[in-house]
Symmetry: D3
Subunit: 256 residues, 6 copies
């Protein structure tokens, strides 16, 4: 497959256009030379696009590295310091960088939240998590109610890199319906409470989450930013496999 | 002391005017009836202004609750839900709410960062942590270099509410000069690296902090948002003691 | 009826969503505790939501006070001074506050302008008064032309609280079609002139209205901000009556 | 005097630069041909710059019309309709238009508020009325306290064009210190209450002024927008007299 | 034809509404008295609306001057200096000014780019040149490929006012498909390269165009801002002829 | 000299801080690896930072390329296409990119305008050309008046790359005092006319410049964007020479 085809297919499948004005991330191809002869035979996938993962991708001889977190957040003012090292790793090794941030969080089948729902054996019940007009999470229902301990135990199976799941156990004893916003999702505690679910599953949380969850009577699971965002990237990896590309998933948990 | 005097003195001492345009928090008196006869005989102090701490303050028979995190972040659109419960707890118990957010982070002697420097036996070497033109942290130097393990051990003495200190140990083996931004401070990793210090001490960190610290070659200590922000509130509590007010510090760690 | 039902029904009927981005007023429930057991048995209605009307509503033992002008215009920075007194009156008496500002001005059947047209025996001929993409007034036609004096005489029947109707008589001798924007409506003099009507009926006017009306050759009636805005509130009062709620209209003219 | 000198002198004396970013009015010369030979021998002065006053100025054979309210508020998109008539009246009669809006409200000696203080036999005690960083009013003290009725009686001597002074008598029985914001000044009720004065003197008021004054316990006098803003224009007229220019004041009360 | 009809017809035909929020020019009637009796018997047409063309239009005894570049770009703060001279020329000679800027660039049949395509014997192949959501140019194809020299020779036939066509000859030897943005169009070099055309035809270019064209491998023709924008104005002139109006085209090349 | 010293010295000398908020260009180091061991032994200088000049700099074995126009204008969203080629040329050849845009236009001694004044044998008389609060040009006076032809002849000595000087000869016959804004400076025609100078010297001009110059009665010389902006870059080249660095000036005229 040519790079241009690869980029167009993913942009289209992930509906990047819909997120263009609300996402600070420049989604799509962030680093890459032009030219029509660039084949994509090998692709690496990782949660974070950083110098280290670019170099691992190069070691795998990848033509492109697909990530959830890229290099550009609101425009690069300079290519110096850390940015220089990241961009230089791409250019020196001729590894293109493809990024999908919020679109990959919210996608109904390939997304981080949708796949995390499946991991919890829950059925998707609609979109959740308004972010300037688009949604970045899911709402899901368990086949039968479970306790917070049972859900925490299941989430503890994720590879979080030496980090334990943290539970703010302020909701009902028995949890049936819950919302998911992967990564940093505690800003959606109130939307979850208003939606009438029993719990919110997310990755990491800010300090005020404790009180908001407590006052809203909602249970909040924080299973790790990294751990909850491997799902969508793995889904893209499987997709590229189907397209006949040689792939690898670079697992580099941050413990955060 | 009259409420109006209490408010004026604190606003003045903490230089609230300088932070007025950059802080989303409405600093100063956030909830309180007017009238000139309101004496402040008893005052409670807490990191977080929430329904629970207002009720504890009322149980102490406090006239005012002084906090670091208040109710209003950018204006209240409605007094409903959690906001209703918080405001109602103040009004029903006649407890005023006084808030100092960024000014209390950055104050040179009373601030969270300045007092945390003292806790680490370090000497203040100037302000640090630009936030829209004001500073919200400090730079400090140890009398002699220490290892990351030694500093982590000292930080572990803080009451973090069932949370362990997390260390991203990417800096030099021996740490002498470091920056402090209490609470959520990992956005200042690059400023710390540019300033040439060996480490950044903060409370909590977002996922990308892992890679930024790694690429910048900086050691980052995350000792808990709550734990690192008790210092300034305790300093205000001591100040009110000196003014002859009956005081109490309400310790309610969040584990975050 | 439960409070939540009451709020949802009114928000829906008045189409609050359409006005959400253009109205500085937070429409809907502005003050009120949560919880599912809150019945609305008694409701008071007033043009202005202020401490005095809240206390009158409490004297009527109302569960909710429905008003045209609420407490919040662009977000409350603090609950102190006048805002404290207003909010405290709600909380201490357990009276919720429900607000409908621009949606109530512009509603086609329940609105201030629509009902004022009926009071003048005129037939509604469409919406009028663009305000950032929504309309807040009406256009109406008399069954037969009348003189400015006749219309002024009719408007003088309104309870304006010791204020006389003021007429800027710069239009044609005989008036048949006119525009209505209740409250402060003289910013729409030019739109009225462009629309080809003979007159504009409004509540109060700014100084430049004199010259604009004169140069546009339009007759402008100023019948009082308060007086022209009782119509919609009375319409909501009638609606609640139909829903089986015990109601009262609190008439507190301001003379403005 | 040359037109350029006339404009420079007034701009300088009224400190137009200080108001440049906060005033929607384009202050200074709004309409006028260039060229160095334009003498100013005769000047007319009026509160409102409109077609009628331009034509009266032309009848006086004025070279320039000096006004408080000009033609341009935030930029002219088109020179059509009323704007065409106004601009054409200037061009056809070769009458330049000079405007001073907020600077003339707030000037310490020539301003509307300062001169209204003198009219009330009060002594200026400092600036009042913050408007985006500049002040547009004054604070003043009477030699001895007076009742609201006495002050109202004095204000009733102003030429308001068939309009009576309206008093919101919610303040103390006896008034000694008061604030002044001429024109539409009821947005400053709270600043007046916070400043501890007994009353606010202004021209016209919006509906919510009634409740704000009542809740703040402040007496508010509304003596007419037009009537309170003749003072500064008359002061400029006197100044031009001193410069040897033939002058006239065009009195055209609006009743508002 | 009445002026109001003339204005409505042109606004409608040129779809002015679609360009209202993106064009800094106030399109439509920019200068003109109101009143229903204003017949349009004679109309002048010019690229630039300036004092000189207004006076030429007056010499032709025109009722209206139709131009591509008007007087107002983002609102007139003052009617002084050059603006006074321009507006005065209209008012003194009773010549209305009608403007169509971006709508006339982008119109599919009457527009500058569409007519320039015809001049080059090319067939229109769709819209080109995104400007905040509207298009201001065209894409066109030649019946058979030509060299850059041939196209340059054809463009040199335009009346540019003592200016030679400048060609940045960095594209393919043979040109078949090209984009057109008349006036200042070099900001669209990248869009043209992305669209896969061989060349961009425009009027004038900024310095960075040299490098952008070179790096994009695109040939850019700069045939004069004035020369490329006479097309649409001439098309409107022909249209008015058809409507039975006496017309003239005022040719005043700027050499730019 | 170390790279960090080189950057600090130039930033300081050119007062980059003063221009930080008004210049869309990221001034200072735009592309460059970190690390303290980077010596600057050889430096290339050019007006435009593009792939071609980076490669020429690499051929000279330069450690840094200093330019007036860099790669970043308002932040890079992606490192693809032309931007990829430019950045890759730097990284692959290990050539850092240093940029000074508006600061180099306006500098009193090293700046483009200041040096162009010297080239015309004129004496600097102060700053000119307001751009959001900073100045980007100069005002200068000739020892004795000259005709436009004489000045044009002198400007024609500049290396413009096959482009002739264009003169809009609408000012006085004899020119003594003039303003300079290098590059694209015709937006300052009115400021020049208001300042009372006889002429404006600039590089390139937009179409409306013709009419503005004509109506303002100002002579405008357009000597080429490139040609007028070599001065400041050459001055920096001389400065680096003085610092003991091996230098070269890469002359690549654009003809624009």
């Amino acid at each position: 497959m040519q790079l241009a085809d690869f980029v167009d297919r993913l942009n289209d499948r992930l509906d990047h256009d819909a997120y263009a004005t609300v996402d600070a991330s420049s989604n799509g191809l962030q680093v890459g030379a032009g030219g029509t002869e660039r084949p994509i035979d090998r692709a690496a996938f990782a949660v974070d696009g950083v110098e280290a993962t670019v170099r691992e991708a190069a070691a795998f001889d990848a033509d492109v590295l697909v990530v959830h977190h890229g290099f550009v957040w609101g425009g690069l003012d300079r290519v110096t310091g850390i940015e220089y090292d990241r961009v230089a790793a791409c250019i020196e090794n001729d590894v293109a960088l493809y990024v999908s941030h919020l679109p990959l969080d919210g996608h109904e089948t390939l997304g981080n939240a949708a796949r995390l729902a499946s991991f919890l054996d829950a059925e998707r019940r609609g979109s959740f998590g308004d972010h300037g007009g688009v949604t970045i999470g899911q709402r899901a229902r368990l086949p039968s109610p479970r306790s917070a301990e049972e859900i925490e135990a299941r989430l503890s199976k994720l590879d979080t890199g030496d980090r334990s799941v943290r539970t703010l156990d302020f909701g009902p004893d028995s949890i049936e319906e819950f919302a998911i916003v992967t990564g940093s999702g505690t800003d959606w505690i109130r939307e979850a409470a208003d939606a009438g679910v029993d719990a919110l599953v997310t990755g990491e949380g800010k300090q005020q989450a404790y009180h908001e969850a407590r006052e809203a009577g909602l249970t909040v699971f924080m299973a790790g930013h990294y751990a909850t965002e491997t799902f969508g990237v793995r889904a893209l990896c499987d997709l590229a496999d189907e397209w006949g590309i040689e792939t690898t998933f670079l697992d580099r948990p941050t413990g955060l």
